[in-house]
Symmetry: C2
Subunit: 329 residues, 2 copies
């Protein structure tokens, strides 16, 4: 069964739950508000750099599509986004990133100290809200996933060695870092559904999250090209090994491998070298291979939900697959 | 009712629960173990710098003394110590501290990155273990307290302005930073007891935690003196305002206040200036006032548990008060 969805936008995916997404944003705002001026200041900044609400969207769609709509879905979606936000704040602090979604990060705008404390503040608020639901099940799923994401962050620290970081390591990394929370969002949306649908939606989220992250890593090789004609290569500049490079490596000539090694040893690799390695990766099939893997996960995601009853939300979940692998940013 | 306990040691306090404390350490070790080499390495380091187990001790004693011993007490004590450990790892990262309990901190020995991730890892493990107990009550208490501690860390950031940080700010700070978790440890030990005992033990823990922290801050003014004849003054060097200084300030001459201001503006205040300010604080009654406040909280702690039935654990809880305010380190 194939589903035609070329040119799908995020707005298409969100259409069935767009009103609820507004409620999610309002709920998130209420949950994190604090009677403490500095926290309110950081909150204001975080709410301004509001993301795409991809995980809340999936949770709400999963809840609808599972056939057993959960009345807590908006609250659960806000909590999942809050956990995601807490993770981003700490990730940016760990990576010393200065920009996120085109805005200064908390560590850049405030301080390293404040970003560590804020991440803890946001995460513990999420746990408090989960406890208030008086149900251990979402807590069980989300506490496990939060722990898995921290292990993913540890794995990320090992992803800076071009010649030893293998595809299996990469899969473990992106599963723990990205797919785990996407899978949890879908599963938590389906907690009131039949166990079979809960499992199906979890499997869907896992495969979708994998496809999403592989595409993200691909875009770092292609994105600039499509938009401005100039490749970005940020990951290579930061010495992050992702699938395109891993796939290309075995097909490089010894001299080319030495160039890769050199780039990974340079503290600030020149743009020219980055561009050369990107060309090599493309020429040796690294991009094609990554696209193929993303497509494989996309097919897996599609298969996971093919037995779900028909609904606008099920269609939107399918559109989400197309969106995940075809988006340009 | 007064209780004579001069010269009480921590070993005296721990005597009734010493076997269980060994079980707590073993349990903690098992809970944090991970199938990931880097995490195991950090764990090994953290277990080496094992603290006094003050909070687990109080939890176990509270459980015994409450008259309704909780069979989960050892596990709960391990979880409380784990939350404490997670907090320390992030606090050291926030403060850029290089030593803790005479050993290098995680941020110093590994890296800032690893300490942020490890704190998250440890805290999320604690939540997983709480969820596994299949009871929302300890989760309710401990998630609230963890959030309160993050607000305390935010308050700490405001405690670097000698002339504007008041006693009321200081009280809020140490209550959220220290007393909240001590109170929670005592309360969680008494979850199976009558509500009146649960409340009493919580109140005991709150007052004990306040007395403990005020004493800690006092020791920074007196500790070195008692042991080596030379005051330490680490807090002043780091521009941390604590109760002795707050209490002394109104009694300083204008010229002396200017000296304090100067010390707080110097990026690395000379030892001589630190010693001068410490003398001024002592001369103007700052130490006496802080001792008085600690004694007041100690009396409050004692009063909170005076109606508990007699037991070796209740006596140990009383000894813990004497230990908190009379210890030299």
């Amino acid at each position: 069964m194939t589903h035609q969805a070329a040119g799908v936008t995020l707005a298409d995916v969100q259409r069935p739950v767009v009103a609820q997404l507004d409620a999610v944003t309002a709920d998130l705002r209420a949950i994190i508000s604090a009677d403490f001026p500095l926290i309110e200041e950081v909150n204001g900044h975080l709410l301004q750099m509001k993301g795409k609400l991809f995980r809340p969207t999936l949770l709400l769609l999963a809840s609808e599509a599972s056939g057993a709509r959960d009345p807590r879905a908006v609250r659960l979606a806000a909590i999942v986004e809050l956990i995601h936000l807490a993770t981003l704040v700490h990730d940016d602090s760990v990576d010393h990133s200065s920009l996120r979604r085109g805005m200064p990060t908390v560590n850049a705008l405030f301080s390293h100290q404040i970003s560590v404390i804020m991440g803890d503040y946001l995460y513990s608020r999420a746990i408090i809200e989960l406890v208030r639901l008086d149900d251990l099940e979402p807590l069980r799923v989300l506490s496990r996933v939060t722990n898995e994401m921290t292990v993913g962050e540890m794995r990320q620290l090992g992803a800076y060695d071009a010649l030893s970081f293998r595809e299996a390591d990469y899969e473990l990394l992106i599963r723990s870092k990205t797919a785990s929370l996407v899978a949890a969002a879908c599963e938590v949306g389906a907690l009131r559904a039949e166990p079979a649908w809960r499992r199906a939606l979890r499997a869907y989220g896992d495969a979708l999250g994998m496809a999403f992250q592989i595409t993200d890593d691909l875009l770092d090789y292609t994105e600039g090209e499509a938009v401005t004609g100039k490749p970005s290569g940020q990951d290579l500049k930061e010495h992050k090994v992702t699938l395109p490079l891993i796939a290309a490596l075995p097909h490089l000539a010894p001299e080319e491998r030495r160039m890769v090694q050199q780039l990974f040893l340079a503290s600030e690799p020149p743009d020219e070298e980055v561009a050369q390695v990107m060309d090599m990766v493309a020429r040796c099939g690294g991009l094609d291979y990554a696209r193929e893997r993303a497509a494989g996960y996309a097919a897996q995601a599609e298969a996971s939900i093919e037995d779900l009853g028909p609904s606008a939300s099920r269609d939107a979940l399918r559109d989400a697959i197309a969106y995940a692998v075809e988006r340009r940013r």
